[in-house]
Amino acid sequence: MADPIRLGDADLERALRDLGRRYPYPPTPNLAATVRTRIVVRPIAPVRPIALWRDPRRLALVAAVLLVLAGAAALINPATRDVIAHFFHVRGVVVTRVPSPQPSISPNPLDLGHRTTLEEARSQVDFTIAVPPALGVPDAVYVDSTVVGGEVALAYNPRPGIPLVPETGLGLLVTEFRGDLSPQLILKQAEPGTRIEETSVNGDPGWWLEGQPHMIVVIESPDRVRPETLRLAANTLVWEHGGVTYRIESKLLKAEAMRIAVGLP
C-alpha cells in the first residue's frame, strides 16, 4: 500500500471543496411559508421620504392620501353623516367613487390588529363572532381593539377553490365589527375599474365590489383616521345584520362569496 500523501495547499482546498459537497447539513426547513405568514401582517417600511419630491408617482400617492383624508374629514362632519349613512345603507362602510386610477404604487399590506385565537377573540369583541361553516376554522384570527366594540378578522390561506389574493397574500378574509357603533369606519375608494353593485344577503342590505382592487381606509374615530390602513382590497361583499357589519374579501366571484355569506349563522 502506498504511503498517504502530505497535505499541500491545493490539496487542502480540494479537500474542503469535496467536504462542501458532502457536508452533512440537517434538512433545510421550509422557511418560505413561515416567513410569509410573518410578513403579510405588517406593512413594509416606507421608502425613504427624501425621494418623495423627486418621484412624481410617489408625490401623486401622497396627494391621493391627502385627498382621502380630506374626504374622510368631510364624511365625519355631522351635517353630512346622516345623508351618507342613509345613502350607503350599510352602516360602518362608506363607498366613494374616485375619478381616476390611483397611482400604481404600493399601499400598505394588511394591518388587522393583534393575532389571537378564536376562543380569546370571542371574549375580546362585544358581539357574537360568526364563522362561515363553508370555510371552517380560520387559519389565523386577529382582533383590532381600537375599533369600538372590537373588530375581528378571520384569515384563510389560499387553497383549492380559494385563490390567492396578491394584494393581501391571503386566500380570503372575513371581517366583522359593530357597524351600528362606528357608522363610518371603513372608507372604500372605488376606481372606474371597480364595479359596485347593490345587493342583499338573507334580506339584509349589502354591497358587492368587484374588478379593479379598491383602496380602503379605516376611520378610527371622528377625529382620527388611520392612514396606515390605506391598502388595496379585492372583490368584496359587505353587508350588515343585527348591528354587525360583515365583509368578505377574496378573488371569488359574487355567487361564491354569496354562498359563504348566506351560510353564516
Partner: protein, 196 residues
C-alpha cells in the same frame, strides 16, 4: 407568474413594493443557502433555522434601504451571518457537539472499499472538527469560497470588507485552519480520485 422565472433584481423590486409573493419566491430560492450559512456559524440546526428565518423577515423590512440593482445574495448572507452570531448560546454549543458527532458519518462513496470509505470519513470528520475550532469569520470566508462558491465581489459584500482584502483574508484563514489540523493528518489514499 407564468413564463421564465424572474431574476433577483426583478423579484427584489416587486418585493420592495409590497409584493409578498415575489419575496416568498426569493425565500424559496435562498432558504437552503441561508440555512446552511447560518448552520456554519451556529453549528446546530435549531439556532440555524431561527437565525435564517429572522434574517429573511428582517431583510424584508430592510428592503427599503436596499440599493436598487445591487446583488441580493451577499446582502442577505450578511444579515443571516449576523443573526446567526447573535444566537450562539451555551445550549446551542452543546447541541453543536451532538451535530458534529453525526458529521463524522459523511459517507456515501459506494465505489470505495469499506476501509477506504472509513478512512475518507475520518479525514472529513477531522476537517469538520478543525473548522469548528476556527473563529466564525475564518470559517465563514472558507465556507463562502469553497463550500458555496461565492465570487470575490460577493464575499467582500457579505463580509463587509474591501474586495482587495478578500484574497489575503482567505489565505490567512486557510493558514489558521492548517495550524489547527492534526500534525500527522495525511490525504486519504482515495481522496485524489474522488474529485469530480
Amino acid at each position: 407568474m407564468e413564463g421564465r422565472p424572474l431574476d433577483d433584481t426583478a423579484l427584489v423590486e416587486r418585493a420592495r413594493n409590497g409584493d409578498v409573493n415575489a419575496y416568498e419566491a426569493l425565500v424559496q430560492q435562498y432558504q437552503e443557502l441561508a440555512f446552511r450559512v447560518a448552520y456554519q456559524v451556529t453549528g446546530n440546526a435549531a439556532d440555524a433555522e431561527d437565525a435564517a428565518q429572522e434574517a429573511f423577515v428582517n431583510a424584508y423590512y430592510a428592503l427599503a434601504r436596499f440599493r436598487a440593482g445591487a446583488p441580493f445574495r451577499p446582502w442577505l448572507l450578511r444579515i443571516v451571518a449576523n443573526e446567526a452570531r447573535n444566537r450562539r448560546t451555551a445550549a446551542g454549543r452543546r447541541m453543536a457537539l451532538a451535530d458534529r458527532a453525526k458529521a463524522a458519518q459523511t459517507s456515501g462513496e459506494t465505489a470505495l472499499s469499506p476501509e477506504a470509505a472509513a478512512e475518507a470519513d475520518e479525514f472529513r470528520a477531522t476537517l469538520v472538527n478543525s473548522l469548528r475550532r476556527l473563529r466564525d469569520d475564518d470559517r465563514l470566508i472558507l465556507a463562502y469560497r469553497l463550500f458555496f462558491d461565492l465570487s470575490e465581489a460577493e464575499m467582500a459584500e457579505a463580509l463587509k470588507c474591501p474586495t482587495g482584502t478578500v484574497k489575503s483574508r482567505l489565505s490567512r484563514a486557510l493558514g489558521r485552519l492548517r495550524a489547527v489540523l492534526p500534525a500527522d493528518l495525511r490525504l486519504p489514499a482515495a481522496a485524489g480520485e474522488s474529485n469530480g
